[in-house]
């Protein structure tokens, strides 16, 4: 029984003019840092950076409350100016906030602010202070443009803007060549996705023009999606989804996210956990009309999501670097969100985006605090017992682990359970099983990470242990706030069966439609039981195995054999891509340059020059200086002429 998605209620626009300042404030911050940053010193830079995001947060809250307070389906819009107009194509800079984007801007500015605060402490002893905050503000501005845009071209501006910022921030410590190339890799893989995004936009645009209403605003696309020819909606949706896989690190374009850990940890928390990577999910949810018009595309989204969730989870088990584990966990959780979208539960997807933003940001910042405390030690096999030295980080990190594992009562449980229930309700049993399996693996590797880091005794060199200390207040405060959010965040969307009124889904209904589960209370509770059981088994198993130390990995290795090594090296997908794409490309361009350009075309050009030269040389030998040769030449010439004339006249006569 396929859950019917209710039609989106007509949107009632409220024209305002303050929305434009939400992305503008951080931009002003960027200008400030670039112009004056180096002269005014750290305190001013940190202050301005946080202030800018705070202003955005305040305005975002105002917009959120307006949407919350007014009737369902109201949209706060701010039409700034007409950016582009050529032939049938027009693109305006118009920002709009409806239920969906209000949630997103709150997450972006809220979590963003906390991470800015955290960065002041984390980057305290970094000399390129102003440059870091300039990039961070620029990123926030770009993300806000992406989320606030009301049409695809403007969203694309934000889309590539965040790609640029992630390139700059990943490669922040540019003196180290790996970090620089990690940044480049992120930008290029994103660019491949962006090319798909652009082609998808064109397909839809021209199809709409053929329908007579050429425009790329989301409202038009969702409204007219059903009337598009089948191939157009399918191709458009799939191409846009390619863009989404690039930005949100899904198979096959996820390879850049693990390398993105080369950037500073607050960057990983902000960009590669809370905000940028969710852009793809937001885009698919925003264009749900289009995806519904192409059920096959929706199916693909679901399958890719589930596959990514499972694959990334398996890799997560075997990682030894604390940030790599969290990176693969992000890829896996994003897989869950796309799984939700794939089964039509857009509300659940966005709910998981929100809760994930909270606990994943918390986990990353916690990891950052650990790394900061242990003086840049990132290998969990050389950690242990950090709980004694860093009580606050330990407590908050633990809460995060429980939340992500899906322990009942915490935010992760509510959002993940809703996704699994929707999958089951939608009849996608395969996806549901993957989901449950992924959930238990997630619980397993998160507990492994927690135990190896915080429990047992310290395995690293004692010098680091002696100097280990709790992080300063600017770092621990955001941790505590995020921990509170990770716990409380879930109660916004408590399902009816547990006595809640699922306020979150109700709130999002006007934007993305309300996905009624249509399950009997009994089955829903049974599903909940299964997912909780899966989580608890994962936690228990990991706790038992790893409480004695990292050698438990060896048990896994010999049990799983070669597979474990593969998981450790993330199935060396990078090597495969390198061999399949990068190397042939380089060899092709080298061959093209040398063979075609230099040898063929230049060959022809220089060849003709040489030919003319040698012809001249040939004739030069003819003038031997001997008078008689010249006379002979003349005589032969005359003879030839006479011969020709007589022959032609003979032929003429005969012919």
């Amino acid at each position: 029984m396929h859950a019917a998605a209710t039609e989106v209620t007509a949107s009632l626009p409220i024209a305002v003019s303050y929305l434009r300042y939400i992305p503008l404030a951080p931009l002003v911050g960027v200008l400030f840092h670039v112009a004056l940053g180096y002269r005014l010193g750290r305190r001013a830079v940190g202050l301005v950076a946080c202030a800018a995001v705070a202003v955005s947060f305040a305005l975002a809250a105002k917009a959120f409350l307006t949407v919350l307070g007014s009737a369902a389906g109201t949209v706060v819009t701010d039409n700034v100016y007409q950016w582009l107009s050529s032939g049938e194509f027009t693109a305006n800079v118009t920002f709009s906030v409806d239920a969906l984007s209000s949630v997103m801007i709150m997450v972006v500015t809220g979590v963003g602010f906390l991470i800015h605060l955290y960065s002041i402490g984390y980057m305290a002893h970094e000399e390129d202070y102003a440059r870091f905050f300039a990039y961070l503000n620029l990123f926030t501005a770009a993300m806000l443009v992406l989320v606030l845009a009301d049409n695809l071209p403007l969203m694309f501006v934000g889309w590539e803007g965040v790609g640029l910022c992630s390139y700059l921030l990943i490669g922040f410590w540019y003196t180290d060549p790996e970090k620089a190339s990690a940044g480049k890799k992120a930008f290029l893989v994103n660019r491949i996705g962006d090319a798909g995004f652009v082609l998808g936009a064109f397909t839809i645009f021209w199809a709409l023009v053929d329908l007579g209403q050429g425009s790329l605003t989301f409202a038009t696309i969702n409204a007219r999606a059903a009337e598009l020819p089948a191939w157009a909606s399918l191709a458009g949706a799939l191409l846009l989804f390619v863009g989404a896989t690039g930005k949100s690190a899904q198979i096959p374009l996820y390879v850049w996210l693990p390398d993105a850990m080369a950037g500073p940890t607050p960057v990983s928390a902000l960009i590669h956990a809370a905000t940028m990577v969710t852009a793809g999910v937001y885009m698919v949810a925003r264009l749900h009309g289009l995806f519904e018009a192409a059920p096959a595309a929706l199916q693909v989204v679901g399958i890719v999501g589930a596959a990514t969730a499972l694959l990334a989870a398996t890799i997560g088990i075997a990682q030894t670097d604390i940030k790599k584990v969290l990176a693969y966990s992000t890829v896996s959780q994003l897989g869950y969100m796309f799984l939700a979208l794939g089964v039509g539960a857009y509300g659940a997807g966005i709910f998981h985006v929100m809760t994930h933003a909270f606990f994943k940001a918390l986990l990353f910042l916690g990891a950052g605090s650990v790394i900061h405390g242990l003086h840049d030690e990132q290998d969990i096999r050389r950690m242990g017992g950090v709980a004694q030295k860093m009580p606050i980080t330990h407590a908050t990190f633990a809460l995060g682990v429980l939340a992500i594992a899906g322990v009942p009562g915490l935010s992760g449980f509510f959002s993940k359970d809703e996704i699994l229930a929707s999958a089951y309700a939608g009849g996608h049993f395969g996806l549901w099983i993957c989901g449950v399996l992924g959930a238990s693996i997630t619980a397993f590797y998160m507990t492994r990470l927690y135990v190896l880091t915080f429990r047992g005794k310290f395995r690293g060199d004692h010098h680091k242990w002696d100097h280990a200390h709790e992080s300063p207040i600017q770092m621990t405060l955001p941790l505590m706030v995020l921990a509170a959010l990770a716990v409380v965040g879930g109660y916004v969307g408590v399902p009816e069966v547990l006595g809640g009124n699922n306020a979150f889904a109700e709130y999002l209904a006007p934007s993305v439609g309300h996905h009624q589960l249509g399950l009997a209370a009994g089955t829903e509770l049974m599903l909940m039981g299964i997912s909780v059981a899966a989580a608890l088994t994962g936690i228990g198993l990991a706790w038992v195995m790893y409480s004695k130390g990292p050698d438990a990995d060896l048990i896994l290795k010999n049990k799983l054999g070669g597979l474990y090594q593969q998981m450790r090296e993330a199935y060396n997908i990078d090597a495969v891509y390198d061999a399949l794409v990068v190397q042939p490309l380089m060899r092709a361009s080298d061959a093209l340059w040398h063979s075609v350009d230099v040898r063929v075309i230049d060959g022809v050009a220089n060849g003709t020059a040489a030919a003319v030269n040698s012809a001249g040389e040939g004739w030069r030998r003819w003038s031997t200086g001997n008078v008689q040769h010249y006379m002979l030449t003349v005589l032969v010439g005359v003879a030839a002429l006479i011969l020709a004339l007589t022959l032609s006249s003979l032929i003429g006569v005969a012919g």
């Binding site: 008689q628 040769h629 002979l632 005589l635 032969v636 005359v638 003879a639 006479i642 011969l643 004339l645 007589t646 006249s649």
Partner: protein, 184 residues
């Protein structure tokens, strides 16, 4: 002019021309050139070009050929081997010459210049008529030819002078009387 007279004379003329080209001894070729000039003079007479025939014999055969013979004997040239050393060139030369002659003759054979279209005035070809034309229409050209001859004479004298005014004449003093060695 009846064919009976034309063909033998033509034959002699051609034979002497061949003699000029083929004979090994320069003197003999000079003399055969003289013979062919005479034949031409006879032809001129038949063509009512009496003054020209006379000039031909006096100027051409008389003066110019004597000059030739004088130079040949002055340089005391030995006969060289004629066509010997350059088989390829001579073959091409003969070939080309034959083609030119054949082509011209073929073209001429198909023209309609047979009988003389117009009857000649009796005084045609006499000195008076030629003189009137030379001093009438072609007076300027006539005077120019005198200039030409003057230049030629001065030139010849300068070139052939032996006063050593130009370099490379020291060995000239002893003009070897020896015969020119067989050309290598």
């Amino acid at each position: 002019m009846s064919p009976l007279a034309f063909y033998p004379l033509a034959f002699v003329c051609i034979a002497s021309a061949m003699g000029v080209v083929l004979s090994r001894n320069p003197v003999r070729s000079a003399l055969s050139l003289v013979a062919s000039l005479f034949c031409l003079a006879v032809f001129y007479v038949f063509l009512q070009a009496h003054l020209v025939a006379a000039l031909q014999i006096i100027v051409y055969a008389g003066a110019v050929m004597v000059l030739f013979l004088f130079v040949i004997t002055l340089l005391n040239l030995e006969s060289d081997r004629g066509l010997g050393e350059k088989p390829v060139l001579s073959a091409i030369g003969f070939g080309a010459g034959a083609i030119v002659a054949g082509g011209l003759i073929a073209a001429l054979s198909r023209t309609s210049l047979g009988a003389r279209a117009v009857t000649l005035v009796p005084t045609f070809g006499t000195t008076k008529v030629l003189a009137r034309q030379l001093f009438g229409d072609y007076l300027v050209a006539f005077e120019l030819t005198s200039m030409l001859l003057l230049v030629a004479v001065v030139g010849a004298v300068v070139l052939a002078k032996r006063d050593g005014s130009y370099e490379g004449d020291e060995q000239e003093a002893a003009v070897p009387a020896r015969s020119e060695e067989a050309s290598h």
